[in-house]
Amino acid sequence: MDPAGVFATRYERDQALVRTRKQLVSLAVFVVLLVALPWLVGPRMVAAATVMLITAVVVVGLQINTGHAGQVNLGQAAFMGVGAYTAAVLAIKLGLPFWLSIPLGGVSAAAFGFIFGLSAVRIKGFYLALTTIAAQFLFHFMVLNLPSSWLGGSNGLSVPPAEFFGHRMVDGPSLYWMCLAFALVMVYGAYGITRSRHGRAFVAVRDDDVASGMMGINVVRTKAIAFLVGAFYAGIGGALWAYYVRFVAVDQFTLLNSIWFIAMIIVGGMGSVTGALIGVFVIKLVQESITSLGPTLVEQLPFLGGDIVFATMNVFLGGIIAAFLLFEPRGLMHRWNILKRSYRLWPFPY
């Protein structure tokens, strides 16, 4: 809900993303802070932020696919991998610049995802989720079994650094800015998609596909488009990843990664782009802190053993998914909205 005194008199106002002057100011400050981040914090934080941005692109795509359109997708990491490999191969073989190979990575991932979205013609619900698991395994098989001169097989591929007007992007800040630019565009696009005709069709299909079919929505096409969009985002994220790590290998894109992505949208809140961003931030923050705290912890308590970090992370993540589904299925975003609402209404209860 809006603060007192703010009400929409036209449809465009009602659909606007930024509704008050204060929101505009805080958004501008936030973006400026994001841009200025490399000057404000150390290189380690910048690296973490870059990974967050890349993950955010992937997870926002998953949010559209799973949160809005309701199609469970356990293959987002595979779609990401397709994008990463496409961008890597285009950069190595054809020497394409990054601003061409990254969108093309997205396009090829979208094509790959679309194939699996097409299975919606025949099946729905969790059967659809199974086809996406198959996507994961097919991706691994393809990369490992195609001639290694094509995709590098199990050795992976080394990616040349991105170049921007002669500047080789190898340092943290410039990679960060590249990812930030793409992430801003993609996230803005996601807000656009969710407010558009397609976005409304997604939500309708998620809530009831029979009813939405009755209302004239082409259900099969909508589901396939949801996969197309979700996979496109994954592909862009994967291509960014390829340029960021400058090395792609299959084991960067596993089923477990896909499950992490799902965890992020559950924690953040299903069906909200902002929620996806919050989920990415929270989970990545926790991951980062566990990985950086882990070694010290093992030093202090040597009987724990070095692999404790991975294990704790799993226990924590599994617990968090289950806890959110049990106690707050609508995620952190819902909590935030409740908080905001009560703040605006205070001192009245409603």
Binding site: I123, K124, G125, L130, A134, F137, L138, L317, I321, L326
Partner: protein, 294 residues
């Protein structure tokens, strides 16, 4: 020709092993309508229970394995108590998502409790193969296959003929309807998870006998999915046939296709089969025709 026969028989027996793992899956689906993605983790957990009781504590097999079954059943009950009893009446979507959470949680717990090291699994069945003419059959698979068939037929009878079994089937059809008919959805789900965990442990015993065990063995849970789908999610008897079919195809493919494409056909083929089933006949061979087409 002898080679061919060898591949077929061994493939069929491995397929029966998939059926057994898939049985845990189907039992949970059949009694709670929950698609359990954590099936492989249950198998690994059962395996580690057996390892811990037999190799670590040092119990004889005859006591250790039944105790592991009891432990697995308690674990299943715990899962139901902690997670699913709170979710009765919630959407199936939430329940399935919880199983994804469980997948990660159990994996982490296994790593925390038992560690990431590769452990030797006790030799439950004698290692020397069973030899008929020129055909070599590993004993663990042979006995496992027989056990699978017996269990499968027994469970099939239980779910299709007995009153408690049919009650659970009603739960799988629709939670609300089952509740309004006086069937306890909670009890059904609890039983399903206990049975599923026990079956997974049995699968672990057969699969891992004499091999090494670590948390990566959970992959079998995913490989069993195509078998489950081919049988059609609800059919336990059909699982046996589906398992044999998938196993034979996989065995032959590994033998005759691998040299052509450079290996690993065996690991991806089940999923190709799965995709084919999903596209051609999503209800599988014996499933209920309730999958709504869009």
């Amino acid at each position: 020709m002898i080679d061919f026969l060898n591949y077929v028989i061994n493939g069929a027996l491995i397929g029966l092993l998939y059926s057994l793992v898939g049985m845990g899956f189907v039992v949970i689906y059949r009694a709670s309508k929950v698609f359990n993605f954590a099936q492989g983790e249950l198998v690994v957990f059962g395996g580690f229970l057996v390892w811990w009781l037999v190799m670590h504590v040092g119990m004889p097999l005859a006591i250790g394995i039944p105790l592991a079954f009891v432990g697995a059943a308690l674990f299943g009950l715990l899962i139901e108590r902690v997670f699913f009893s709170r979710l009765v009446g919630e959407s199936v979507f939430a329940m399935v998502m919880v199983t994804i959470g469980l997948l990660i949680l159990i994996r982490g717990l296994i790593l925390l409790i038992f560690g990431p090291q590769v452990r030797p699994f006790p030799i439950v069945f004698p290692l020397q193969p069973f030899i008929v003419g020129d055909i070599l059959i590993p004993r663990s698979l042979l006995y496992g296959g027989i056990l699978t068939i017996v269990t499968g037929l027994g469970l099939s009878w239980f779910f299709n003929r007995t009153r408690p079994g049919l009650k659970m089937t009603a739960v799988a059809e629709d939670h609300q309807v089952a509740l309004s008919l006086g069937i306890s959805v909670r009890a059904s789900i609890a039983f399903a998870w206990m049975l599923g965990a026990v079956l997974s442990t049995l699968g672990a015993v057969i699969y891992l006998s004499g091999k090494s065990l670590n948390f990566l063995a959970s992959d079998i849970g995913l490989i069993a999915l195509p078998v489950v789908l081919l049988a059609g999610l609800e059919s336990i008897g059909g699982l046996l046939i589906a398992g044999i079919i998938v196993g034979i195809i996989q065995g032959l493919a590994v033998a005759y296709l691998d040299p052509w494409v450079g290996g690993a056909v065996g690991s991806v083929l089940p999923f190709v089969i799965m995709l084919a089933i999903l596209f051609i006949r999503p209800t599988g061979m014996f499933g209920w025709r309730t999958i709504e087409r869009v």
